[in-house]
Symmetry: D2
Subunit: 340 residues, 4 copies
Amino acid sequence: MSTQVNRSWQMTGFGLSRLERVEDKVPEPGPRELLVRTKAVSLNYKDKMIIDGTLIPDLVFPFVPTSDALGEVVAVGKEVSRFRVGQRVLGQVIADWPDGDAPPVLHKHTLGSSLSGMLSDHVVLGEDAAVLAPPSLSDVEAATLPIAALTAWFALVEATKPVPGQTLLIQGTGGVSLFALQFANAFGLRPIVTSSSDEKLERARQLGAWQVINYRTQPAWDKAARDLTEGIGVNHVLEMVGGDNARRSLHALAADGRLSIIGILGDTELSFSILPFMRNRITVQGLSVGHRRAFERMNQAIEALALKPVIDKVFGFDEVPQALKHLEKGPFGKIVITMT
Amino acid sequence: MSTQVNRSWQMTGFGLSRLERVEDKVPEPGPRELLVRTKAVSLNYKDKMIIDGTLIPDLVFPFVPTSDALGEVVAVGKEVSRFRVGQRVLGQVIADWPDGDAPPVLHKHTLGSSLSGMLSDHVVLGEDAAVLAPPSLSDVEAATLPIAALTAWFALVEATKPVPGQTLLIQGTGGVSLFALQFANAFGLRPIVTSSSDEKLERARQLGAWQVINYRTQPAWDKAARDLTEGIGVNHVLEMVGGDNARRSLHALAADGRLSIIGILGDTELSFSILPFMRNRITVQGLSVGHRRAFERMNQAIEALALKPVIDKVFGFDEVPQALKHLEKGPFGKIVITMT
Amino acid sequence: MSTQVNRSWQMTGFGLSRLERVEDKVPEPGPRELLVRTKAVSLNYKDKMIIDGTLIPDLVFPFVPTSDALGEVVAVGKEVSRFRVGQRVLGQVIADWPDGDAPPVLHKHTLGSSLSGMLSDHVVLGEDAAVLAPPSLSDVEAATLPIAALTAWFALVEATKPVPGQTLLIQGTGGVSLFALQFANAFGLRPIVTSSSDEKLERARQLGAWQVINYRTQPAWDKAARDLTEGIGVNHVLEMVGGDNARRSLHALAADGRLSIIGILGDTELSFSILPFMRNRITVQGLSVGHRRAFERMNQAIEALALKPVIDKVFGFDEVPQALKHLEKGPFGKIVITMT
Amino acid sequence: MSTQVNRSWQMTGFGLSRLERVEDKVPEPGPRELLVRTKAVSLNYKDKMIIDGTLIPDLVFPFVPTSDALGEVVAVGKEVSRFRVGQRVLGQVIADWPDGDAPPVLHKHTLGSSLSGMLSDHVVLGEDAAVLAPPSLSDVEAATLPIAALTAWFALVEATKPVPGQTLLIQGTGGVSLFALQFANAFGLRPIVTSSSDEKLERARQLGAWQVINYRTQPAWDKAARDLTEGIGVNHVLEMVGGDNARRSLHALAADGRLSIIGILGDTELSFSILPFMRNRITVQGLSVGHRRAFERMNQAIEALALKPVIDKVFGFDEVPQALKHLEKGPFGKIVITMT
């Protein structure tokens, strides 16, 4: 195996111009590790922020970015008992979080952040940090799950209990948002989707949005959301932006409502008025992906519900820079790179 | 209003022969009560057991049986604030259970049991013991909800958290079972339905059963259920029968599995072996209908999920004895009596 | 009974000067109501804010303020089944919240706010809006429970699950804070108390504070709290102030930490940085008293744990203005008015 | 290190006569393993059942029994990050259960059962299967925790939520029972202890039992428990015996009560009547020790609450057969073997 060539995209510094294709040896798995041949890698907005240098300023180079990949197990360490050669696996992004509460020091073992990422032909994963891919999904589809789908799933299903008929406001139509839309539909929630594009909103409707709001034409979208819910407010909002947007999210909430902060695309500050917050018993919770057991439960659910991830565009391994540029355009769903 | 005639079916003793049609005055609602004009009444197996004298041996006569009815509010007491005339309502069967834990002494305020039942043109309900009917359901459909649907909902959604992809074994194809089947489907559970009739199993399949087992041709249905789940066992079983059947249910369970005891059609004893029970961390829970808040949540879910109750047969007000006889035949879904 | 005189303190406008003693007839209880002879009334800071006109600007006069009182049932309506004459009861402040989620429109039925308050010899309570007082407490002690104790209890025990050994930061030494300190101790939590007074901190220590911080001499008390927890941060903070103080509270939190907002003595805005909030999976929850079932559970706990409320000072019925002035001084524990 | 001698007690067949002292080489830890020098080992009743051959009939010999030991880390594998040499550790009995749900195939990795046990001078533990011992406990005290304390903790605190003032019936005065008694006291539960010995009941009282029942003089102890709770019944029963005893436990339960099955000393069958079970919404749950996170939380609680395990008797390493015989006498608390 060691005679094979292992292609990677490596950061040698910040900026797209410092992302370079390299070739080296295929790594060897340790006793409890898996050697995985990567088939497809999906991108998240945070990958762009890491490459740009805005998210992890003290990154050590060279560094292989990205966290989400589907691969096939091609070799296993001698003590491995959870997997065998030939299985299709996905990496568990927060590698040392099996279940329950997160590990005490979180970012010690995170794929594509404190650990090396997935933009390589071969990667090594701990056997405790991988899950089986859902059999019904293609390689490209399965590659989209580790961050985007698990974040949506964790916010909707693990951190709370979805109650059919309740309303859920979903911001935008990126990867996490469309997974949230699909899960919400499956659970009988009433999803309200916001976007600045009527065309995207129309596609969201076709995917099952109960209501849509164009926040460009309706900048007071919190008011619009209240109107859509007969003045009661929305039961749950998935916050993707921060700043003033998050403040509006709080205004849009019903009594006993919940704001799950799962992304920051804008201002990193949030300010709000405490009195209605207290009177209405509002909960705000920060979330960041999820644990391995939740990932397994989600994959089981994806099979049972026959869900298919929404893919915006697929790029070849040579087109990684183009794929990253495409990410800035606000895709509708996920961007995936195939390794072939 | 008091000049109107109020028709009822009243028990003057045990047995179908002592169930008699009577006419009296329309009752007056108290300050916090609703006068409800009944439109449709659904039957439950326990109504038959009450009429036969097997469930409540010390019942005081005369007694109007049944618990489940859809009606229209025709008058309200002067302090009523939760409802207004013209609304379609359903009675909350355990009348003094608004939310959370049940009231200390349960059967003090139960419709059709410690309280008078619903087989009358007019009934009086406390305003705290009623909920709005789902607008999308007809009168006949809505009348089926108070016991059968709420029991299934409470066991699947309130007492535990449905995890899509998990398996659920449902016994039979009566009212509760078919509601459980519909809810299970909506939540992405994998329902396995048992019956002694291939024809009913075929209909269950059409309603979304993932697998079916004919317990007549496969008396070791617990073994059959294990085989269908690759030897793992079923995650949740809804027990409707008791006795040896319940013992089989426990054998069919996976580790961390749950047995919800929601009905007794057979032997009232249950015996099982403790060692595997302990090793596999099994939970057995007895359940009995549910609280008003759960009823409200369920109705909201029925709207959002566009569920339609399965009606076996509708009878006229004069056909109550025939309807009760039909109940013994093992209907597929609910039996309803219309008041007109 | 109607020949008796019923003394009250009534607001005829905002400001202490418009709080007047009046006498009228003893009220009659309705069919499901209790007539309660008040023995002791405790004050909360919000009573001062209501009297000053800062909390409910559109209050309708005349209005009897305050919410917390211990009284004896002296008559019951003819349909009352939950209480009998002679029992010592406390009013459930959010009167229509029996259990589970709060009622849809919260402030419709709140004692001393949307409903008339307790500063009268006699008050009328719905039988669903009262609980038995703990037998081991005196009238004065029991009168302190309805808001202060229940708010602390709900934040520590009902909205979350206390884990012995975890740290809890409690702000100040007012009524809610000292109940929180006593409950925290009982559950094996490690309470850290903040105050501007070394003398009060010493008394807090004697009541069981694990650590204390004087925020006057240590304005960076969030840093001090981190230091006391070996850099890990505090697991739970009870926020009483708002504004910059709440921001510091968030800084003091450990990963997976919780901020319960249960009071506002200062700035009503809260602003914080989202990124660490998300990474550390922080939860912020607004809370406002609690439901009747929680009140019953708390009273049972107070008995079992043999807790005694901390009383700062007791005033006579004629001294209500003095008692309200004393409230501004930052008492150590509760202020109570006896009706005799 | 490999020149050192490693003493063990090994089973070469079933029966006490086949338990033999042997000496071999000190084992080497793998890359993610700890070499632990054992200081104290505690016994559980199931150790006796394993040695007698009644619990695991297909055990492979030679086999080192027992599961609970306190030891010091004397060497670590090169990839170990959670522990360092010199720390005092306890083994996590169900080794591959870090948190949340149990692993799919439970008994694959259980200390002293599917894995080799602890009756050796040195043992090797995976770094994921160990926790730090509470600093305030001596070696002998800490050795008692892994099964007895964690079983009691899990049943009282993890699988449910202790509500102060609720009643808990504890059967007997063995290791698990006395831990349950101490935890119950700490949480404000009202523990009722049963035993056949008035002398042991008197000691249980001194440890904080609220009430005691001698089941020899009061064979209808379920009735006695009901009487002690004003006819309401007990909220939670910890079942240690099985068979008829478990049936009595169910009779002793209040509505919404819980029976945690955590031990089997007698008949392994349980039978009960379903109707009251269903009406009263009873829960029966089988439990078997607990996960590592619960172990860590418990140790933190033991520190915060300053709890001290009750030790019945300490034996020397040469006295293992005597210690096992003593186990049959029904000790009051734990039996421990010191390795020196």
